[in-house]
Amino acid sequence: MSALLALDGVTVARGGRTVLAGADLQLHAGERLALVGPNGAGKTTLLRTLVGLERPSAGRVVAFGAERRTEVDFGTVRARAQLMFQDPDDQLFCPTVIDDVAFGPLNLGRKRDEAFAAARAVLERLGLVHLADRVTHRLSGGEKRLVCLAALIAMAPDALLLDEPTNDLDEENRARMIDILLRLDAALLLVSHDRDFLERIATRAVLLREGTVRPALVHRHVVTQEEIHIHGLDASHRHAEG
Protein backbone atom coordinates (compact mmCIF):
# COMPACT_ATOMS: atom_id res chain seq x y z
CA MET A 1 0.00 0.00 0.00
CA SER A 2 1.38 3.42 -0.85
CA ALA A 3 1.92 5.97 1.88
CA LEU A 4 -0.36 8.93 2.55
CA LEU A 5 2.63 11.19 3.10
CA ALA A 6 6.24 10.49 2.23
CA LEU A 7 9.60 12.16 2.14
CA ASP A 8 12.02 10.71 -0.34
CA GLY A 9 15.67 11.69 0.27
CA VAL A 10 14.69 15.19 1.31
CA THR A 11 17.27 17.86 2.11
CA VAL A 12 16.13 21.06 3.81
CA ALA A 13 18.22 23.98 5.02
CA ARG A 14 17.09 26.56 7.53
CA GLY A 15 18.96 29.75 8.20
CA GLY A 16 21.85 28.48 6.06
CA ARG A 17 22.23 25.23 8.02
CA THR A 18 21.31 21.86 6.59
CA VAL A 19 18.68 20.45 8.94
CA LEU A 20 17.40 17.50 6.95
CA ALA A 21 19.99 15.67 4.86
CA GLY A 22 18.40 13.05 2.67
CA ALA A 23 15.61 12.17 5.06
CA ASP A 24 13.13 9.41 4.20
CA LEU A 25 9.80 8.98 5.88
CA GLN A 26 6.51 7.29 5.17
CA LEU A 27 3.22 7.72 6.93
CA HIS A 28 0.61 5.12 6.06
CA ALA A 29 -3.13 5.19 6.56
CA GLY A 30 -4.23 3.92 9.95
CA GLU A 31 -0.77 4.38 11.39
CA ARG A 32 0.28 6.38 14.47
CA LEU A 33 3.93 7.13 13.92
CA ALA A 34 6.14 8.59 16.63
CA LEU A 35 8.94 10.90 15.46
CA VAL A 36 11.55 11.34 18.17
CA GLY A 37 14.92 13.04 18.28
CA PRO A 38 16.96 15.46 20.35
CA ASN A 39 16.16 19.18 20.54
CA GLY A 40 17.03 20.94 17.32
CA ALA A 41 17.21 17.69 15.35
CA GLY A 42 14.73 19.06 12.84
CA LYS A 43 11.48 17.41 13.84
CA THR A 44 9.48 20.62 13.45
CA THR A 45 11.24 21.27 10.17
CA LEU A 46 10.25 17.82 8.93
CA LEU A 47 6.58 18.39 9.75
CA ARG A 48 6.70 21.78 8.05
CA THR A 49 8.25 20.21 4.96
CA LEU A 50 5.41 17.70 4.70
CA VAL A 51 2.83 20.50 4.35
CA GLY A 52 5.01 22.71 2.19
CA LEU A 53 5.97 25.40 4.69
CA GLU A 54 9.60 24.47 3.97
CA ARG A 55 10.75 23.54 0.47
CA PRO A 56 13.46 20.92 0.01
CA SER A 57 16.58 21.71 -1.99
CA ALA A 58 16.78 18.03 -2.93
CA GLY A 59 14.50 15.02 -2.76
CA ARG A 60 10.76 14.67 -3.19
CA VAL A 61 7.69 15.25 -1.08
CA VAL A 62 4.96 12.82 -2.07
CA ALA A 63 1.51 13.36 -0.62
CA PHE A 64 -1.74 11.57 -1.37
CA GLY A 65 -0.37 9.84 -4.39
CA ALA A 66 1.37 12.72 -6.14
CA GLU A 67 4.63 14.58 -5.91
CA ARG A 68 4.14 18.07 -4.48
CA ARG A 69 6.29 21.05 -5.40
CA THR A 70 4.35 24.29 -5.67
CA GLU A 71 2.22 26.33 -3.29
CA VAL A 72 -0.83 25.25 -5.30
CA ASP A 73 0.15 21.57 -4.91
CA PHE A 74 0.47 22.01 -1.18
CA GLY A 75 -2.85 23.82 -1.01
CA THR A 76 -4.56 20.52 -1.73
CA VAL A 77 -2.26 18.71 0.70
CA ARG A 78 -3.16 21.12 3.49
CA ALA A 79 -6.85 20.42 3.07
CA ARG A 80 -6.16 16.77 3.96
CA ALA A 81 -3.12 16.84 6.25
CA GLN A 82 -3.42 19.11 9.26
CA LEU A 83 -0.42 20.41 11.19
CA MET A 84 -0.63 21.35 14.87
CA PHE A 85 1.89 24.05 15.69
CA GLN A 86 4.10 23.90 18.73
CA ASP A 87 2.57 27.09 20.17
CA PRO A 88 -1.25 27.12 20.23
CA ASP A 89 -1.25 30.92 20.21
CA ASP A 90 0.03 30.74 16.64
CA GLN A 91 -2.97 28.73 15.64
CA LEU A 92 -5.92 30.19 17.51
CA PHE A 93 -6.31 33.58 15.96
CA CYS A 94 -10.10 33.85 15.81
CA PRO A 95 -12.02 35.82 18.43
CA THR A 96 -13.96 32.92 19.85
CA VAL A 97 -13.49 29.17 20.01
CA ILE A 98 -16.41 28.37 17.74
CA ASP A 99 -15.15 30.90 15.16
CA ASP A 100 -11.77 29.23 15.21
CA VAL A 101 -13.08 25.71 14.85
CA ALA A 102 -15.37 26.82 12.00
CA PHE A 103 -12.53 28.69 10.27
CA GLY A 104 -11.15 25.65 8.46
CA PRO A 105 -14.49 24.27 7.22
CA LEU A 106 -15.41 27.75 5.95
CA ASN A 107 -12.15 27.87 4.04
CA LEU A 108 -13.03 24.53 2.51
CA GLY A 109 -16.08 26.25 1.05
CA ARG A 110 -18.75 25.01 3.45
CA LYS A 111 -21.74 27.28 3.98
CA ARG A 112 -21.77 29.37 7.15
CA ASP A 113 -24.53 27.46 8.92
CA GLU A 114 -23.06 24.12 7.91
CA ALA A 115 -19.57 25.10 9.00
CA PHE A 116 -20.72 26.29 12.40
CA ALA A 117 -22.89 23.24 12.88
CA ALA A 118 -19.94 21.01 11.99
CA ALA A 119 -17.70 22.98 14.36
CA ARG A 120 -20.18 22.58 17.16
CA ALA A 121 -20.51 18.87 16.44
CA VAL A 122 -16.74 18.41 16.65
CA LEU A 123 -16.59 20.31 19.94
CA GLU A 124 -19.39 18.18 21.24
CA ARG A 125 -17.69 14.96 20.16
CA LEU A 126 -14.50 16.00 21.93
CA GLY A 127 -16.34 17.12 25.07
CA LEU A 128 -15.32 20.74 24.56
CA VAL A 129 -18.65 22.29 23.71
CA HIS A 130 -18.67 24.28 26.96
CA LEU A 131 -15.75 26.29 25.51
CA ALA A 132 -17.57 27.17 22.28
CA ASP A 133 -18.28 30.82 23.06
CA ARG A 134 -15.15 31.53 25.07
CA VAL A 135 -12.68 34.13 23.85
CA THR A 136 -9.65 32.21 22.55
CA HIS A 137 -6.91 34.25 24.16
CA ARG A 138 -8.42 33.84 27.62
CA LEU A 139 -8.28 30.04 27.55
CA SER A 140 -5.78 28.17 29.70
CA GLY A 141 -2.78 26.60 27.97
CA GLY A 142 -4.31 23.15 28.06
CA GLU A 143 -7.66 24.34 26.79
CA LYS A 144 -5.92 26.11 23.92
CA ARG A 145 -4.26 22.84 22.90
CA LEU A 146 -7.51 20.91 22.91
CA VAL A 147 -9.28 23.63 20.94
CA CYS A 148 -6.43 23.58 18.40
CA LEU A 149 -6.94 19.85 18.05
CA ALA A 150 -10.67 20.36 17.59
CA ALA A 151 -10.01 22.97 14.91
CA LEU A 152 -7.81 20.53 13.02
CA ILE A 153 -10.23 17.64 13.41
CA ALA A 154 -13.00 19.86 12.06
CA MET A 155 -11.15 19.74 8.74
CA ALA A 156 -11.78 15.96 8.67
CA PRO A 157 -8.13 15.35 7.79
CA ASP A 158 -6.66 12.07 6.53
CA ALA A 159 -3.49 12.78 8.45
CA LEU A 160 -2.70 14.82 11.54
CA LEU A 161 0.81 16.07 12.24
CA LEU A 162 1.17 17.00 15.89
CA ASP A 163 4.17 18.97 17.16
CA GLU A 164 4.61 18.29 20.88
CA PRO A 165 0.87 18.12 21.53
CA THR A 166 1.05 17.25 25.23
CA ASN A 167 3.07 20.33 26.22
CA ASP A 168 1.32 22.34 28.91
CA LEU A 169 -1.43 19.76 29.39
CA ASP A 170 -2.33 18.69 32.92
CA GLU A 171 -3.02 15.02 33.65
CA GLU A 172 -6.71 15.29 32.97
CA ASN A 173 -6.40 17.12 29.66
CA ARG A 174 -3.53 14.86 28.65
CA ALA A 175 -5.69 11.80 29.24
CA ARG A 176 -8.40 13.49 27.22
CA MET A 177 -6.03 14.20 24.34
CA ILE A 178 -4.90 10.55 24.32
CA ASP A 179 -8.48 9.40 24.35
CA ILE A 180 -9.37 11.67 21.46
CA LEU A 181 -6.37 10.63 19.38
CA LEU A 182 -6.97 6.93 19.90
CA ARG A 183 -10.51 7.27 18.57
CA LEU A 184 -9.51 9.13 15.40
CA ASP A 185 -9.43 7.49 12.02
CA ALA A 186 -6.75 9.83 10.67
CA ALA A 187 -3.16 8.69 10.44
CA LEU A 188 -1.02 10.44 13.08
CA LEU A 189 2.53 11.70 12.99
CA LEU A 190 3.50 12.51 16.55
CA VAL A 191 6.49 14.60 17.59
CA SER A 192 6.89 14.38 21.33
CA HIS A 193 9.34 14.00 24.18
CA ASP A 194 6.58 12.56 26.32
CA ARG A 195 7.57 8.89 26.51
CA ASP A 196 4.44 7.70 28.24
CA PHE A 197 2.26 9.47 25.70
CA LEU A 198 4.05 7.87 22.76
CA GLU A 199 4.05 4.51 24.45
CA ARG A 200 0.29 4.57 24.72
CA ILE A 201 -0.42 5.84 21.26
CA ALA A 202 2.29 5.08 18.74
CA THR A 203 2.17 2.01 16.56
CA ARG A 204 5.64 2.65 15.15
CA ALA A 205 8.54 4.97 15.89
CA VAL A 206 11.33 6.63 13.96
CA LEU A 207 14.31 8.61 15.14
CA LEU A 208 15.54 11.80 13.51
CA ARG A 209 19.21 12.40 14.03
CA GLU A 210 21.87 14.22 12.04
CA GLY A 211 19.39 15.00 9.33
CA THR A 212 18.26 11.47 8.56
CA VAL A 213 15.41 9.31 9.73
CA ARG A 214 16.00 5.77 10.93
CA PRO A 215 13.71 3.20 12.46
CA ALA A 216 13.41 3.11 16.21
CA LEU A 217 11.87 0.52 18.43
CA VAL A 218 9.11 1.26 20.80
CA HIS A 219 10.59 0.19 24.10
CA ARG A 220 10.77 1.63 27.56
CA HIS A 221 14.53 2.13 27.80
CA VAL A 222 17.17 3.70 25.67
CA VAL A 223 19.10 0.64 24.61
CA THR A 224 21.69 2.17 22.37
CA GLN A 225 22.67 5.70 21.48
CA GLU A 226 21.00 5.26 18.13
CA GLU A 227 17.63 4.01 19.07
CA ILE A 228 15.13 5.39 21.47
CA HIS A 229 13.12 2.43 22.54
CA ILE A 230 9.72 3.04 23.89
CA HIS A 231 8.06 0.14 25.53
CA GLY A 232 4.82 -0.85 23.87
CA LEU A 233 2.14 -3.41 24.53
CA ASP A 234 2.81 -5.19 21.27
CA ALA A 235 6.53 -4.68 20.87
CA SER A 236 6.92 -7.59 18.49
CA HIS A 237 4.59 -5.96 16.00
CA ARG A 238 6.68 -2.81 16.11
CA HIS A 239 9.93 -4.69 15.79
CA ALA A 240 8.53 -6.17 12.64
CA GLU A 241 7.48 -2.76 11.31
CA GLY A 242 10.77 -1.14 12.32
Partner: protein, 258 residues
Amino acid sequence: MPAALGAAPVRVSFGIAALDPRTRLLGAFAGVLAVALLSSLWVLAAAALGTFALALAAGPGTAALMRRLVHLEGFMLVLLALLPFTVPGTPLFGAPPFVASAEGFARAVQILLKVNACGFLVFALLGGLEPVRIGAAALALKAPERLVQLFLLVVRYGGVLRAEAARLQEAMRARAFAPRASLTWSLHTWRTYGHMLGMVLVRALERAERVSEAMRCRGFSGRLPASAERPALGAADLAFALLLAAAILAAFAAEHLA
Protein backbone atom coordinates in the same frame (compact mmCIF):
# COMPACT_ATOMS: atom_id res chain seq x y z
CA MET B 1 -32.37 70.60 23.92
CA PRO B 2 -34.94 69.53 26.49
CA ALA B 3 -35.74 66.65 24.17
CA ALA B 4 -32.10 65.63 24.04
CA LEU B 5 -31.95 65.68 27.81
CA GLY B 6 -35.24 63.97 28.32
CA ALA B 7 -34.45 61.13 25.96
CA ALA B 8 -31.51 59.84 27.96
CA PRO B 9 -33.27 58.29 30.98
CA VAL B 10 -35.83 56.63 28.73
CA ARG B 11 -33.05 54.97 26.71
CA VAL B 12 -31.44 53.65 29.86
CA SER B 13 -34.54 51.81 30.91
CA PHE B 14 -34.13 49.51 27.92
CA GLY B 15 -30.74 48.36 29.13
CA ILE B 16 -27.78 48.93 26.83
CA ALA B 17 -26.63 45.36 27.39
CA ALA B 18 -29.77 44.07 25.69
CA LEU B 19 -28.88 45.83 22.46
CA ASP B 20 -27.23 44.11 19.53
CA PRO B 21 -23.56 45.14 19.09
CA ARG B 22 -24.43 46.38 15.62
CA THR B 23 -27.02 48.75 17.06
CA ARG B 24 -24.54 49.98 19.60
CA LEU B 25 -21.83 50.52 17.02
CA LEU B 26 -24.15 52.31 14.60
CA GLY B 27 -25.66 54.32 17.46
CA ALA B 28 -22.24 55.45 18.62
CA PHE B 29 -21.30 56.34 15.05
CA ALA B 30 -24.51 58.33 14.43
CA GLY B 31 -24.29 60.07 17.80
CA VAL B 32 -20.67 61.08 17.32
CA LEU B 33 -21.42 62.33 13.83
CA ALA B 34 -24.36 64.41 15.11
CA VAL B 35 -22.30 65.89 17.93
CA ALA B 36 -19.55 66.77 15.49
CA LEU B 37 -22.06 68.73 13.38
CA LEU B 38 -23.63 70.64 16.29
CA SER B 39 -22.21 74.02 17.25
CA SER B 40 -24.57 75.70 19.76
CA LEU B 41 -22.98 75.60 23.21
CA TRP B 42 -26.35 75.07 24.91
CA VAL B 43 -27.30 72.16 22.74
CA LEU B 44 -23.86 70.66 23.17
CA ALA B 45 -24.08 71.09 26.93
CA ALA B 46 -27.40 69.26 26.92
CA ALA B 47 -25.90 66.50 24.78
CA ALA B 48 -22.93 66.17 27.13
CA LEU B 49 -25.22 65.96 30.15
CA GLY B 50 -27.50 63.44 28.47
CA THR B 51 -24.67 61.22 27.34
CA PHE B 52 -23.03 61.49 30.75
CA ALA B 53 -26.20 60.22 32.39
CA LEU B 54 -26.29 57.42 29.83
CA ALA B 55 -22.67 56.49 30.52
CA LEU B 56 -23.29 56.47 34.27
CA ALA B 57 -26.34 54.31 33.92
CA ALA B 58 -25.22 51.92 31.20
CA GLY B 59 -21.45 52.05 30.90
CA PRO B 60 -18.93 49.67 32.43
CA GLY B 61 -19.41 51.05 35.95
CA THR B 62 -18.73 54.39 37.63
CA ALA B 63 -15.17 53.56 38.72
CA ALA B 64 -14.16 52.45 35.24
CA LEU B 65 -15.84 55.50 33.75
CA MET B 66 -13.95 57.85 36.05
CA ARG B 67 -10.64 56.11 35.32
CA ARG B 68 -11.17 56.54 31.61
CA LEU B 69 -12.30 60.14 32.05
CA VAL B 70 -9.07 61.08 33.82
CA HIS B 71 -7.11 60.43 30.61
CA LEU B 72 -9.54 62.44 28.54
CA GLU B 73 -9.87 65.40 30.89
CA GLY B 74 -6.13 65.82 31.35
CA PHE B 75 -5.82 66.37 27.65
CA MET B 76 -8.85 68.68 27.68
CA LEU B 77 -7.32 70.89 30.39
CA VAL B 78 -4.33 71.61 28.20
CA LEU B 79 -6.67 72.52 25.37
CA LEU B 80 -8.79 74.75 27.59
CA ALA B 81 -5.68 76.56 28.81
CA LEU B 82 -4.06 77.10 25.42
CA LEU B 83 -6.87 77.63 22.92
CA PRO B 84 -8.13 81.04 24.18
CA PHE B 85 -4.66 82.47 23.58
CA THR B 86 -4.24 81.12 20.07
CA VAL B 87 -7.57 82.21 18.52
CA PRO B 88 -7.71 85.94 17.61
CA GLY B 89 -10.82 87.99 18.55
CA THR B 90 -12.33 90.15 21.28
CA PRO B 91 -9.78 90.37 24.11
CA LEU B 92 -10.94 88.99 27.46
CA PHE B 93 -7.87 89.29 29.65
CA GLY B 94 -4.08 89.16 29.57
CA ALA B 95 -1.50 91.46 28.02
CA PRO B 96 0.05 91.29 24.54
CA PRO B 97 1.34 89.05 23.19
CA PHE B 98 -0.66 86.71 25.43
CA VAL B 99 -4.28 87.76 25.10
CA ALA B 100 -7.16 85.38 25.73
CA SER B 101 -10.00 85.99 23.30
CA ALA B 102 -13.70 85.43 23.93
CA GLU B 103 -13.90 83.53 20.62
CA GLY B 104 -11.03 81.32 21.66
CA PHE B 105 -12.67 80.65 24.98
CA ALA B 106 -15.97 79.78 23.32
CA ARG B 107 -14.15 77.49 20.90
CA ALA B 108 -12.38 75.73 23.75
CA VAL B 109 -15.65 75.18 25.62
CA GLN B 110 -17.26 73.93 22.43
CA ILE B 111 -14.52 71.38 21.84
CA LEU B 112 -14.60 70.38 25.48
CA LEU B 113 -18.33 69.70 25.29
CA LYS B 114 -18.10 67.89 21.97
CA VAL B 115 -15.26 65.63 23.02
CA ASN B 116 -16.93 64.81 26.30
CA ALA B 117 -20.30 64.11 24.74
CA CYS B 118 -18.65 61.77 22.21
CA GLY B 119 -16.55 60.15 24.91
CA PHE B 120 -19.55 59.54 27.18
CA LEU B 121 -21.55 58.12 24.32
CA VAL B 122 -18.79 55.73 23.26
CA PHE B 123 -18.17 54.65 26.86
CA ALA B 124 -21.87 54.05 27.30
CA LEU B 125 -22.46 52.12 24.10
CA LEU B 126 -19.18 50.33 23.49
CA GLY B 127 -17.45 50.34 26.87
CA GLY B 128 -19.02 47.09 28.02
CA LEU B 129 -18.52 45.33 24.70
CA GLU B 130 -15.72 42.81 24.01
CA PRO B 131 -13.47 44.23 21.28
CA VAL B 132 -13.99 41.03 19.31
CA ARG B 133 -17.72 41.65 19.26
CA ILE B 134 -17.15 45.20 18.06
CA GLY B 135 -15.10 43.72 15.23
CA ALA B 136 -17.76 41.19 14.38
CA ALA B 137 -20.40 43.92 14.41
CA ALA B 138 -18.29 46.13 12.15
CA LEU B 139 -17.91 43.24 9.72
CA ALA B 140 -21.64 42.60 9.81
CA LEU B 141 -22.15 46.28 9.00
CA LYS B 142 -19.95 45.90 5.91
CA ALA B 143 -16.99 47.84 7.27
CA PRO B 144 -13.84 47.29 5.15
CA GLU B 145 -12.75 43.70 5.78
CA ARG B 146 -9.02 44.46 5.91
CA LEU B 147 -9.57 47.08 8.58
CA VAL B 148 -11.63 44.70 10.68
CA GLN B 149 -9.05 41.92 10.25
CA LEU B 150 -6.34 44.30 11.40
CA PHE B 151 -8.42 45.40 14.36
CA LEU B 152 -9.19 41.84 15.42
CA LEU B 153 -5.60 40.67 15.05
CA VAL B 154 -4.38 43.63 17.11
CA VAL B 155 -6.89 42.71 19.80
CA ARG B 156 -5.93 39.04 19.62
CA TYR B 157 -2.16 39.46 19.63
CA GLY B 158 -1.71 42.70 21.58
CA GLY B 159 -1.99 40.69 24.77
CA VAL B 160 0.33 37.95 23.53
CA LEU B 161 3.01 40.48 22.62
CA ARG B 162 2.56 42.37 25.87
CA ALA B 163 2.95 39.12 27.79
CA GLU B 164 6.11 38.34 25.80
CA ALA B 165 7.58 41.75 26.63
CA ALA B 166 6.63 41.31 30.28
CA ARG B 167 8.31 37.89 30.40
CA LEU B 168 11.48 39.35 28.92
CA GLN B 169 11.47 42.11 31.51
CA GLU B 170 10.95 39.61 34.31
CA ALA B 171 13.79 37.49 33.00
CA MET B 172 15.99 40.59 32.99
CA ARG B 173 15.05 41.42 36.55
CA ALA B 174 15.51 37.82 37.63
CA ARG B 175 19.13 38.21 36.61
CA ALA B 176 19.46 41.31 38.76
CA PHE B 177 19.00 43.89 36.05
CA ALA B 178 17.93 47.23 37.49
CA PRO B 179 17.72 50.31 35.29
CA ARG B 180 20.10 52.95 36.61
CA ALA B 181 17.91 55.66 38.05
CA SER B 182 20.25 58.43 37.08
CA LEU B 183 19.47 61.19 34.62
CA THR B 184 21.88 59.75 32.13
CA TRP B 185 21.30 56.02 32.22
CA SER B 186 24.33 53.86 32.11
CA LEU B 187 25.33 52.49 28.75
CA HIS B 188 24.51 49.03 30.07
CA THR B 189 20.94 50.09 30.79
CA TRP B 190 20.48 51.55 27.32
CA ARG B 191 22.00 48.54 25.65
CA THR B 192 19.81 46.17 27.64
CA TYR B 193 16.65 48.02 26.70
CA GLY B 194 17.82 48.03 23.11
CA HIS B 195 18.22 44.27 23.17
CA MET B 196 14.81 43.86 24.74
CA LEU B 197 13.07 46.08 22.22
CA GLY B 198 14.82 44.32 19.36
CA MET B 199 13.83 40.95 20.75
CA VAL B 200 10.19 42.00 21.12
CA LEU B 201 10.14 43.20 17.51
CA VAL B 202 11.80 40.09 16.13
CA ARG B 203 9.46 37.85 18.06
CA ALA B 204 6.44 39.82 16.90
CA LEU B 205 7.55 39.41 13.30
CA GLU B 206 8.16 35.69 13.70
CA ARG B 207 4.85 35.31 15.45
CA ALA B 208 3.08 37.07 12.59
CA GLU B 209 4.81 34.72 10.17
CA ARG B 210 3.71 31.64 12.08
CA VAL B 211 0.14 32.85 12.49
CA SER B 212 -0.10 33.42 8.76
CA GLU B 213 1.36 29.94 8.13
CA ALA B 214 -1.11 28.36 10.53
CA MET B 215 -3.91 30.13 8.68
CA ARG B 216 -2.67 28.87 5.32
CA CYS B 217 -2.48 25.36 6.76
CA ARG B 218 -6.18 25.52 7.37
CA GLY B 219 -6.93 26.61 3.85
CA PHE B 220 -6.98 30.38 4.36
CA SER B 221 -6.71 32.29 1.11
CA GLY B 222 -7.08 35.91 2.17
CA ARG B 223 -10.69 36.34 3.21
CA LEU B 224 -11.92 35.99 6.77
CA PRO B 225 -15.12 34.00 7.02
CA ALA B 226 -18.02 35.88 8.57
CA SER B 227 -18.24 35.61 12.33
CA ALA B 228 -20.39 33.30 14.42
CA GLU B 229 -24.02 33.52 15.46
CA ARG B 230 -25.77 36.62 14.26
CA PRO B 231 -29.25 36.89 15.79
CA ALA B 232 -31.88 39.16 14.30
CA LEU B 233 -32.33 42.66 15.68
CA GLY B 234 -34.96 42.88 18.39
CA ALA B 235 -37.57 45.34 19.62
CA ALA B 236 -35.03 46.92 21.97
CA ASP B 237 -32.81 47.74 19.00
CA LEU B 238 -35.68 49.38 17.15
CA ALA B 239 -36.73 51.38 20.23
CA PHE B 240 -33.18 52.52 20.82
CA ALA B 241 -32.74 53.55 17.19
CA LEU B 242 -35.97 55.57 17.28
CA LEU B 243 -35.07 57.30 20.53
CA LEU B 244 -31.59 58.13 19.36
CA ALA B 245 -32.96 59.49 16.08
CA ALA B 246 -35.49 61.58 18.03
CA ALA B 247 -32.78 62.95 20.31
CA ILE B 248 -30.56 63.84 17.36
CA LEU B 249 -33.42 65.50 15.48
CA ALA B 250 -34.42 67.44 18.58
CA ALA B 251 -30.85 68.61 19.03
CA PHE B 252 -30.68 69.89 15.44
CA ALA B 253 -34.10 71.53 15.77
CA ALA B 254 -33.05 73.25 18.99
CA GLU B 255 -29.90 74.50 17.31
CA HIS B 256 -31.89 76.04 14.45
CA LEU B 257 -34.40 77.66 16.78
CA ALA B 258 -31.71 79.10 19.03
